[in-house]
């Protein structure tokens, strides 16, 4: 190469100082942020279990089956709250899932075009309501309505069942379950609706062309195609219900034992922590509350992970026909 070529602008160009530090700096900063995010979850797990350790070492796994919560005699157990969490979240899921599927069918297949966005937005707004306000409404509006109207009605028809026995009450498992239903329906609906909208139009057309009614088309094409998404959405909703502390604390009443009647007051893991944390005295009570939090964390994370795995596994690949496929004659 001639000496003159070394003067070529391309070979002589050097990056400015700003650029030389800019790239690594941005990469480093953003990588650090990612580390922070991962550290957060690790930190949460560590800290919660650490705070719970006095209770874990004292009660062990028997904590999960002890049906008592007595700060005075220092006898603590998670059983009433596991039960309450299971019952309230379970009922909420049972009610919310079909409701959400019906709403999603309406929004994707039935609603007139002009109504779709507005109604979908309204349903999403329901998810945006702060839960403390839902709890307030539960205490002052829904609770009395349950006590005066719904629960007596349930008792008169189904009173022979133990779950509908006892005195109607504004506060209790049933009211909490309904508040949770209101909370998780928009979440399940929003994900389900997205999944329904990915169903390829030509599959729907094929069904109509065979002479299906609209419901038959949904049953034949949309629902099977969306199976994984619906399950995943429901489980996500379940996770949300399990973790809700405030609205449940406001309407569930706070009892420390398992009760069979749905009208009775009770407690859930999250609500108990919220109710007792401030006034907790004594190391064992605080540690027991942290133990409840540890159990809650494990369940919530497990449910979340399972939901995502189901959605991922069940994703249907688009069946694209390539013209180059030669078929056997």
């Amino acid at each position: 190469m001639e000496a003159g070529a070394l003067r070529h602008p391309v070979l002589r160009a050097r990056r400015s100082r700003k650029d030389r530090i800019g790239d690594p700096l941005l990469r480093g900063l953003s990588g650090l942020a990612a580390v922070v995010a991962v550290a957060a979850i690790a930190g949460i797990a560590y800290e919660v279990f650490d705070q719970a350790s006095p209770a874990i070492s004292k009660y062990g796994l028997g904590f999960l089956t002890t049906n008592d919560w007595n700060p005075v005699s220092e006898r603590f157990g998670a059983a009433p709250f596991l039960y309450g969490t299971a019952v309230t979240s379970g009922i909420a899921l049972l009610l919310a899932a079909p409701l959400s599927i019906a709403i999603s069918i309406y929004l994707t297949e039935l609603a007139p075009q002009r109504l779709r966005r507005p109604v979908a937005t309204l349903v999403d707004m329901l998810a945006a309501i702060p839960t403390v306000i839902l709890g307030l409404w539960g205490i002052l509006v829904l609770g009395p309505f349950m006590r005066d109207t719904v629960e007596p009605a349930l008792q008169s028809v189904f009173g022979f069942l133990p779950i509908f026995s006892g005195d109607p009450s504004a506060f209790g498992y049933l009211t909490a379950a309904l508040i949770l239903t209101i909370m998780i329906t928009p979440i399940i609906t929003s994900v389900t609706r997205e999944v329904f909208e990915t169903v390829p139009a030509d599959l729907k057309e094929a069904s109509y062309a065979l002479g299906a009614t609209r419901w038959e088309m949904v049953r034949q094409v949309v629902l099977p195609y969306s199976r994984a998404g619906i399950v995943g959405a429901s489980i996500l909703g379940l996770g949300r219900a399990i973790g809700e502390a405030i609205a449940v604390a406001q309407v569930i009443g706070g009892a420390y034992e398992i009760h069979t009647s749905l009208f009775h007051t009770g407690g859930t893991l999250a609500a108990q922590i919220a109710a007792q944390w401030e006034g907790a005295t004594g190391q064992m009570q605080k540690a027991s509350l942290a133990y409840l939090a540890a159990i809650l964390l494990v369940f919530a994370v497990a449910v979340n992970v399972i939901a995502r795995l189901i959605v991922q596994r069940g994703q249907l690949k688009d069946t694209d026909v390539t013209p180059t496929e030669v078929e056997a004659l």
Binding site: A34, L126, A245, Q250, W277
Partner: protein, 293 residues
């Protein structure tokens, strides 16, 4: 059989199928109406019951001392504003940086787990996050503080901001970035000057939605910021009053006047939260249109 009879004859099977179809259509419509009705009932309750106590006095007077009546939520409004703003100041940059990392820099085998971790973080109940921050800050310091609350809210906001930011950044057409690189513009400059401005609308949306979400979060408040002095208005190193806490406490109080105050405070909070939500959505549709158009 001839087509005529096949077409005109309303067979029993067909009638039944149409009936079933009709039932399903009506039920689905009722379900949607029911959801909308619940929304209207709840918001309606807040509106009708809260508007009575809502007054300038209410908005500009601090909470009444224990046992007294006739207070307001001025300190709660200020407290919420400070706490949420601090949380946003922490969460938005970090969330944005994480999103930049996973979309621009990280190889797929790192980006995937990071996204997964963020999704898991999103599913952690807020009360558990609060206990974490309590152990981190409140217990060593020996007292509750607005700062601790901000940190907890920031952690809650982080996955929300990050996930929306990731989605929006991924939507920026790669042709745009390639054009910048082809011009010899450095990576970091492209990100800061091209990618982020193009995605700005969606980024703002994510931020607003996250803010709307944490403004109403009450569980962390119970754990981290429920004790505050009347005199402290703006110092985050001590406890601060917050609107959600006010609502929570007033809702559990026995007196009807406390309930009315709870509705009024709920009205303020719901206006803030729903307002932010609607603005965020409007932003999102506008920015999507701009990017695709």
């Amino acid at each position: 059989m001839s087509s005529e009879s096949a077409l005109l004859r309303r067979s029993e099977g067909l009638r039944r199928r149409n009936r079933v179809n009709r039932v399903v259509e009506i039920s689905s419509t009722i379900a949607a109406l029911f959801a909308v009705a619940v929304l209207l009932i709840v918001v309606g309750s807040v509106l009708t019951k809260g508007v009575d106590a809502l007054s300038i006095h209410f908005l500009t007077t601090p909470t009444a001392l224990f046992g007294e009546e006739g207070g307001g939520i001025s300190n709660a409004i200020v407290g919420t504003a400070i706490v949420v703003a601090s949380a946003a100041a922490m969460a938005i940059p970090v969330g944005l940086l994480v999103a930049i990392y996973t979309t621009e820099f990280a190889p797929s085998r790192i980006a995937h787990p990071v996204r997964f971790v963020l999704d898991v973080l999103n599913g952690v109940p807020t009360i558990v996050t609060a206990i974490f921050v309590a152990g981190l800050i409140v217990i060593p310091q020996g007292h509750q503080s607005g700062f601790a609350l901000s940190v907890a809210l920031a952690i809650v906001m982080l996955p929300i901001v990050s996930r929306t930011a990731q989605e929006v950044l991924a939507l920026v057409p790669s042709t745009l970035k390639e054009a910048a690189h082809a011009l010899g513009i450095a990576r970091w400059r492209t990100t800061v000057r091209v990618t982020i401005p193009t995605a700005a609308g969606g980024l703002i949306t994510g931020a607003l939605l996250a803010i709307a979400r944490v403004a109403g979060e009450t569980a962390p408040v119970i754990i981290l910021c429920s004790i505050f002095g009347q005199g402290n208005l703006t110092d985050p190193s001590q406890g601060l009053a917050t609107i959600p806490f006010f609502i929570f406490r007033s809702s559990e109080a026995p007196s009807p006047s406390a309930h009315t105050e709870a509705w009024a405070a709920a009205l303020v909070l719901i206006a803030l939260v729903l307002g932010l939500n609607l603005v965020a959505r409007a932003f999102y549709t506008r920015s999507r249109r701009r990017m695709e158009g």
